[in-house]
């Protein structure tokens, strides 16, 4: 049998595992829709107010939903000993980390993106802003996953486990939220939102290039 790269091997195994635990995997999606239903119940069903708030609400809901999947991102692997296997011998762990980040994004963010048009319609977001909403989610959620993964890696062996996650994630997602919802709001008003999208892309690229280093360092320190 040919040797598969650790990256592909882990990616395949992660996806197989998450299909096997579909209930847990789809939790962020349920959460998104819980928020989408609860907010109109709270602020009233007026379409003007809702369409004004829709970009922010969908993004805040996506952000909070992403927190749900974070606690188990590395902890299961820590508990059964598969996490330390990432770093055996000459392996730097980056291939495995990359596979885990991609599978995490596919499992937790992609369903949210796929179903976001439904949420947008329920919140009366103008239809012409829909492509921009999906675009911001496509560009922005990788950064969201990376920031969340850093928080999950940092708090891996803390006392009181995942309780710290929100406070670590919140400051770092401020630019993400501003650029993404700004783009969608402008699109809803019928204006060009390219500068926002450009900044959002730059933010994601910066995170893609630096975060893996920090996440790997945090994981290794937590294994001590």
């Amino acid at each position: 049998m040919a040797k598969t790269s650790p990256f592909l091997a882990l990616l395949k195994r992660d996806i197989k595992l998450s299909i096997r635990r579909a209930g847990e995997t789809l939790l962020p999606l349920f959460f998104l829709f819980a928020v989408v239903v609860l907010i109109p119940l709270g602020v009233g069903p007026g379409p003007n107010l809702l369409s004004l708030m829709a970009p922010g609400m969908i993004w805040v809901a996506a952000l909070l939903a992403s927190l749900l999947a974070l606690d188990q991102l590395f902890r299961g692997d820590l508990d059964d000993g598969t996490l330390e296997q990432w770093f055996i011998g000459p392996s730097s762990g980056y291939a495995q980390l990359g596979a885990r980040l991609i599978s995490h994004w596919l499992i937790s963010a992609l369903p949210v993106i796929v179903f976001s048009p439904l949420a947008a319609i329920m919140l009366h977001l103008p239809l012409e802003a829909l492509p921009v909403l999906i675009l911001t989610l496509l560009i922005g959620t990788p950064a969201l996953s990376l920031i969340g993964s850093l928080a999950a890696a940092l708090t891996l062996t803390t006392r009181g486990a995942g309780g710290l996650l929100p406070i670590l994630v919140f400051p770092m997602v401020v630019p993400l939220l501003i650029f993404a919802t700004g783009a969608v709001s402008l699109a809803a008003e019928g204006t060009v939102s390219n500068p926002h999208l450009g900044l959002l892309l730059a933010f994601t690229i910066l995170n893609l290039s630096l975060m893996p280093i920090a996440i790997r360092a945090a994981l290794k320190m937590n294994l001590e």
Binding site: M1, A9, K16, R20, D80, G81, T82, E84, I88, G89
Partner: protein, 198 residues
């Protein structure tokens, strides 16, 4: 041929050395048994050798692929035994097939069961089966005899003998059971650095 060499390894936790500096040389066909009391740092030393922990000082040189089986068997509970070994095999397969490996560790006929349904001892055996399906000459085993019955321990000894006779090498830690091997054994006593102070 030297497969693994370590020079003056130390590891600090909380600002304290865990064990006295360790140097060792592991040649093909040899077995090193790490002995020491509970808390002497056997597990930490093995994790440093495996690369999970970076040594505070000193260095580890590997001339071949290592594989590490720790306290935790590194087995996914939601996957079957066969699926777990299939994943391991993708990282570099040995001649041994998954079915053969399961027979050799005494799990014949249990390969289809989710690992979740196995007992602690059976999970341990599944963890050891990972050694057989991987093409890794250096075995690093942390307490391989723990939670195994007498027959299980004898099986581990047989596996180690077979591995060393094919040019492999083993470093293992144990705090009670001493291996009954044909292969040549070097003993390494690990002393807790703090115990030496006090």
């Amino acid at each position: 041929m030297t497969l693994l060499q370590a020079e003056r390894l130390t590891f600090q936790r909380g600002g304290e050395d865990i064990f006295e500096p360790v140097s060792l040389t592991l040649a093909a066909g040899r077995v090193i048994v790490i002995r020491g009391d509970n808390g002497a740092g056997k597990t930490t030393l093995l994790r440093v050798l495996a690369g999970v922990l970076s040594p505070s000082s000193g260095c580890v040189r590997l001339n071949a692929e290592p594989i590490f089986v720790g306290h935790l068997p590194a087995v996914k509970a939601d996957l079957s035994g066969r699926e777990n070994l299939h994943y391991e095999r993708q990282l570099g397969a040995s001649q041994t097939t998954i079915a053969m490996a399961l027979i050799q560790v005494g799990l014949a006929g249990m390969g289809a069961r989710p690992a979740r349904t196995l007992s602690a001892g059976q999970k341990k055996r599944l963890g050891l089966a990972r050694l057989l399906v991987r093409n890794a000459p250096i075995w690093l085993l942390d307490e391989p005899y723990a939670s195994l019955d007498a027959a299980g321990c004898a099986r581990v000894d047989a596996l180690i003998d077979a591995h060393t006779s094919q040019g492999g090498a083993v470093v293992l830690s144990t705090h009670q059971q001493l291996p009954q091997l044909d292969a040549a054994i070097d003993y390494l006593n690990v002393a807790s650095a703090s115990a030496a102070d006090g």
